[in-house]
């Protein structure tokens, strides 16, 4: 892994965003729509529930912000590859001295930056519009958010691997993959709300434990070490498996000439 190569690959994306501000709309517009919809739904429920309003519902706003961290991290990895496909730059990058590790590290950095921009903006707006302060979680926010980033990176690697394997027609997976798992990810409701037969799926998804843990934390200020431990352990496994899948698919892509097919589209 070479720092200068990673720096160059990150720089390419930063130039892209500075050159085309319209791309920032994607980072801001959709998350903002989510925040407004879920935020005002929370306000509506709050008004009608009165004093019996459960704190978990307030967490809907937090869930919007935190889901977006995961989603933006995943997008950072998957869209990086697609940007090269769209600009017909793929062969320039893969015929350059760039290792898989360099490439992935650069996409992680972009994923982190995307997540940071969106989540900071949404957090500030949530305080201003709904008096919801995600930072009440204090320092325990950091390991939970870090776990969301890790899982976003894993999903990004899986998305990219599937796109490489199945070709340009599978581009839509860059957006779809996170939503495959969302119903089981306990984002807006606890794992207990799922039918008993599918709770095991939530149990093996790292972000489900992050959302469970953060709901607990916001309720009474405690840190759910069990949820944090489960999320971290699962994330290590997912990162390893996703990394192995990515490397395996890139090897297959070279054997089957799949990368060149993106150029001829």
């Amino acid at each position: 892994m070479t720092f200068s190569t990673i720096h160059a690959l990150v720089l390419r994306n930063l130039y892209l965003y500075s050159r085309t501000p319209v791309r920032l709309v994607e980072l801001v517009f959709w998350p903002l729509v989510d925040l407004l919809v879920w935020g005002y739904l929370t306000v509506f429920l709050q008004k009608h529930a009165g004093d019996s309003f459960p704190y978990q519902i307030t967490f809907l706003i937090g869930a919007v912000i935190l889901w977006d961290i995961l989603f933006r991290a995943q997008q950072g990895v998957a869209l990086y590859f697609l940007e090269d496909v769209w600009s017909r730059n793929l062969l320039n990058v893969f015929s350059a001295p760039v290792t898989n590790a360099d490439y992935l590290a650069a996409t992680y950095v972009i994923g982190f930056l995307r997540a940071a921009v969106t989540s900071l903006l949404l957090s500030v707006l949530a305080i201003a519009l709904y008096s919801f302060n995600l930072f009440e979680l204090n320092w325990s926010l950091i390991p939970f958010v870090f776990n969301l980033l890790l899982f976003g990176w894993s999903l990004g690697m899986i998305s990219t691997a599937l796109i490489v394997r199945w070709g340009p027609a599978a581009e839509t997976l860059a957006w779809a993959v996170p939503f495959f798992i969302q119903p089981f990810a306990a984002v807006y409701y606890p794992i207990d709300a799922l039918p008993a037969g599918v709770r095991w799926i939530a149990e093996i998804i790292p972000c489900a434990h992050v959302f469970e843990g953060m709901r607990e934390g916001l309720k009474d200020g405690s840190v759910s070490w069990i949820d944090l431990g489960k999320a971290t352990g699962l994330n290590v496994i997912y990162l390893l498996l996703a990394g192995m899948l990515f490397v395996r698919v890139m090897k297959t892509a070279r054997e089957k000439g799949l990368l060149t097919k993106f150029v001829s589209q």
Binding site: S4, T5, H7, A8, L9, L11, R12, Y15, L16, R19, T20, E83, D84, S87, R88, N89, L90, L91, N92, F94, S95, A96, P97, V98, T99, K251, R254, E255, K256, G257, L259, T260, V263, S264
Partner: protein, 247 residues
């Protein structure tokens, strides 16, 4: 005795039933411009993609700078570069931004100075601040060439660099190709459909057909071997199914 810069030996690529490259062998010496000539489907681009490490050979070997490409791909790629008419640099970035990104990837020392040099060489210094996507086809090809020359490659692969260029720009590209060979001793593998390119630029030619090498030699040797008057008539004869015996 010095080793060839590039040694391709018994190279085969199969995609299922299809064999686009079928046991080709050739070498490039230092400072040589070797043409890879053949009709569509002859296997030129697959061969180039294997030399770049984008496609893995089914069998055979590729040695570059006397190193095995399969084992030392990254170290080799640092000393090579590539330009194809079928690839582009990101259109949203300015010319200097694209060259800065690739210059850093190739660890080019004194990058700003080098960017100015290659832009001057290709006569597009005035486009330095332009958005790459707004360049004409000729300007875009020259920008690709700038990227390919940034790291002063010892081996340069040019895949149909003059395709879609007008005669004036194509002539400039040919002149630059010869100039960098003469001044820097760069070895160049040059694929083209353009017979004038091959005649004017290449020291020797590898004539390919249906994945095999038909003949390797100078343009004169090839014409003599096939008893043809011009490379163009030979090209047409072979492309239309005329005889050709692989070496």
């Amino acid at each position: 005795m010095s080793h060839p810069v590039l040694q391709v030996s018994h190279l085969v690529k199969k995609f299922g039933e299809l064999t686009p490259v079928d046991g080709i062998s050739f070498e490039i010496q230092q400072g040589e411009i070797l043409g890879l000539l053949g009709a569509n489907g002859a296997g030129k681009t697959t061969a180039i993609n294997m030399i770049l490490g984008i496609v893995t050979p089914t069998s055979g070997s590729i040695r570059v700078f006397d190193k095995d490409l399969a084992r030392e791909r990254i170290a080799i790629l640092r000393r090579m570069n590539f330009c194809s008419t079928y690839t582009q640099l990101p259109g949203n970035l300015r010319v200097w931004q694209n060259l800065t990104v690739f210059g850093r990837i190739y660890r080019v020392p004194q990058l700003k100075k080098r960017i100015d040099e290659v832009l001057e060489l290709l006569e597009i210094a005035h486009l330095k601040d332009r958005i790459s996507g707004n360049l004409s086809a000729g300007e875009s090809t020259r920008l690709n060439l700038c990227k390919a020359l940034l790291n002063r490659p010892e081996l340069l692969l040019l895949d149909e660099p003059t395709a879609s260029l007008d005669p004036d720009i194509a002539d400039k590209v040919r002149k630059v190709t010869k100039r960098i060979r003469d001044e820097d001793g760069t070895s160049i593998l040059y694929t083209s459909h353009n017979m004038r390119d091959v005649d004017e630029v290449c020291d020797r030619v590898v004539f390919m057909h249906q994945g095999k090498v038909l003949f390797i030699g100078t343009a004169a040797e090839i014409l003599n071997h096939f008893q043809e008057e011009s490379l163009e008539s030979l090209f047409i004869r072979v492309a239309r199914g005329g005889e050709g015996k692989a070496v």
